[in-house]
């Protein structure tokens, strides 16, 4: 039997601006098994990113339960969340979010800085191997500003993978890319998933969602029953 990696039970989240409260998530239930590839779709402002941030422990739900890798994590403190983010979750963002002054290689190594272990030569080898696998062997010492969007996103993917995460999260990873690069980047996700990595992506684009094994639609803060 395949293990559940993510279990969300009746997750709610609301944002408050001044005195007005905007409910965003109104009771999200979700199960993601190991090896799954899920695409979350929905209109702009429907709460996709909010949900992904909660799954990635970057944000906290207002209520509900969240089991990640068998552990209830919805009430962890900042430090404990940071630990899990660092060891078990890889993030890929629409805007790449690379550190501008660091080279491609340094950006890939960055998560190791927060692992309480020295960065070894093997780590470096591994980073180089990842960059090579993603077709960046010639761009190792380039700064983000010297890289194309697709290259930047591939660096970001390599960075997300450096700690062998259990779960890869991607929030509109192709939102800033042209259609050809989109295909390339999505093939990478697909390949990673085929090698066993659990992937959850958020997207507007049905072409992108096609790469996933299953798609869930969010509306009015809940998943639409299919």
């Amino acid at each position: 039997m395949v293990k559940d990696l993510v279990i969300l039970k009746n997750i709610t989240k609301a944002y408050q601006t001044g005195k007005v409260i905007y409910p965003v998530l109104n009771g999200i239930d979700l199960e993601v098994k190991e090896g799954d590839f899920l695409a979350i779709m929905g209109a702009s402002g429907s709460g996709k990113s909010t949900l992904l941030n909660i799954i990635g422990l970057l944000d906290k739900p207002d209520s509900g339960e969240y089991f990640f890798d068998g552990q209830e994590v919805s009430k962890l403190n900042k430090k404990e969340s940071a630990y899990i983010r660092n060891r078990k979750i890889g993030f890929v963002f629409q805007a790449f979010h690379l550190v501008p002054w660091a080279t491609a290689l340094e950006n890939v190594l960055l998560p190791l800085l927060y692992k309480d272990e020295e960065i070894t030569n093997e780590d470096k080898e591994k980073a180089l191997e990842l960059l090579k696998r993603l077709g960046l062997e010639k761009r190792i010492n380039a700064k983000p500003s010297e890289l194309s969007g697709g290259e930047q996103q591939r660096v970001a993917i390599a960075r997300a993978l450096i700690n062998n995460p259990r779960l890869l999260l991607a929030d509109e990873p192709t939102g800033n890319l042209d259609s050809q690069t989109t295909q390339e980047v999505m093939s990478i996700f697909k390949e990673l998933n085929e090698k066993g990595l659990t992937v959850i992506i958020v997207t507007h684009d049905p072409e992108v969602a096609k790469f996933a094994k299953r798609i869930k639609l969010i509306k009015d803060g809940v998943f639409i029953k299919q």
């Binding site: 944000d59 900042k78 998560p111 800085l113 927060y114 960065i119």
Partner: protein, 400 residues
């Protein structure tokens, strides 16, 4: 190994102008602090040096009344009631080491074609010893020359230079207010004393000659005394007062003389230097504050600019503590670099400016250390506070 530090602090050199500005802020703070303290310290030492030439063991009896003003004893009223016999009478006080009647006036001094106006100081053979003036050449007055109305003179250092240059002066005859005087000695450089008189710009002659042949009066202007034992100085001052009040038959309230100790001059003088150094302290604290406000502003800017980086690092699992440490070290590097350069510039400019203003060269280590310490503290606070604020922000907000 090295990659770790690159990953932590590589960002420091990313925006070079920003780095430069923050370092300059610190440099200005530290160097101005240092320079001002060097000036304050130098002023203090200058005063102390002046007081040295007017030793604490010296008492001055001045005819008329004296006001101590701005570190100078100024004769505000001149009387003719202080007589040579008063000086003789004071000799009876025990514990007096040296005593000299003094009559001083302006005079024209001339040697061959060189003429200059200087102070003519009529004194006795004890005066040089009393004032601890070093003899550069020649000899002191003999008691017989004083009592025998001999026209001999000892030249101040500058007067000798101006009249004779490098040439020998001893044995030469100069004219003081047209009367011929034989030079018997030259005083070494002394400088300005606590009474603000340039002791190098004077000539000494026997007081007997001064009041008779030169100025034709029967009084003297002051009596200088020095005591054996400084602890006795107040008692002796009291004793002098008693004797003179009695001799002049005046009441305590309308005395026709004044007694001044070096200490009295010192008191006022240190008051003024204290005021000066307090002023300097306030200004330098202001300078430091301006510097650190600058650094705080730039650091805040820098952290704001790097909010995204903080967000990225957080999303990758950086703990608040680790981010604080990163920015702490960044500001420590900036402040220490700026601090060291500031110390260097401060020392260098005091090295140049102090002699320019005729101040002694001093290196005030205490202010150097305090200012270095303070800037580092300020710099750290300036760097850590905005970073601390940034870590409180949600990473998703930072990354938006």
């Amino acid at each position: 190994m090295l990659i770790k530090y690159k990953l932590l602090w590589g960002g420091l050199f990313y925006k070079k102008l920003r780095l430069l500005l923050s370092v300059i802020g610190i440099i200005i703070g530290v160097s101005s602090l240092l320079l001002m303290n060097a000036f304050g310290e130098a002023a203090k030492i200058k005063t102390l040096k002046e007081i040295e030439t007017f030793g604490p063991e010296i008492i001055m009896v001045v005819a008329g009344s004296v006001r101590v003003h701005g570190g100078r004893a100024i004769q505000t009223e001149i009387t003719t009631t202080l007589k040579p016999s008063d000086a003789e009478a004071l000799r009876k006080i025990k514990d007096i080491k040296y005593l000299s009647p003094v009559f001083n006036g302006d005079g024209v001094v001339r040697y061959l074609g060189n003429t200059l106006t200087t102070i003519i100081n009529g004194v006795n053979e004890e005066y040089l010893l009393l004032r601890k003036f070093p003899l550069l050449e020649g000899r002191n007055f003999l008691i017989d020359e004083i009592l025998g109305y001999k026209k001999v003179t000892i030249l101040g250092y500058k007067v000798k230079r101006e009249l004779f240059g490098e040439k020998n002066a001893i044995g030469e005859v100069i004219r003081i207010n047209k009367l011929p005087f034989r030079v018997i000695g030259v005083i070494g450089p002394v400088g300005i004393d606590a009474s603000n008189v340039d002791q190098d710009d004077q000539v000494l002659i026997p007081w007997t000659v001064a009041i008779s042949a030169l100025y034709n009066v029967d009084y003297i202007r002051s009596i200088y005394l020095s005591v054996e034992d400084i602890s006795q100085i107040s008692a002796i001052k009291e004793r002098i007062n008693e004797i003179l009040v009695k001799r002049h038959q005046v009441s305590e309230k309308n005395k026709d003389f004044d007694i001044v100790k070096a200490e009295d001059i010192l008191e006022v003088k240190t008051q003024t230097t204290d005021l000066f150094s307090n002023l300097i302290k306030s200004i330098s604290i202001l300078a430091l504050l301006t510097g650190s406000i600058g650094v705080t502003a730039i650091m805040t800017l820098s952290v704001n600019e790097r909010k995204k980086e903080i967000g990225i690092r957080k999303s990758l699992g950086a703990k608040d503590k680790e981010l604080l440490f990163q920015f702490l070290i960044e500001s420590v590097i900036i402040t220490i670099t700026g601090g060291l350069i500031g110390i260097f510039i401060g020392l260098f400019s005091s090295f140049i400016l102090l002699p320019l203003f005729k101040y002694p060269l001093v290196f005030p280590w205490f202010p150097i250390l305090t200012s270095a310490f303070l800037t580092i503290i300020f710099g750290i606070l300036a760097g850590i506070y905005p970073a601390y604020k940034a870590t409180k922000i949600d990473p998703i907000v930072l990354l938006r």
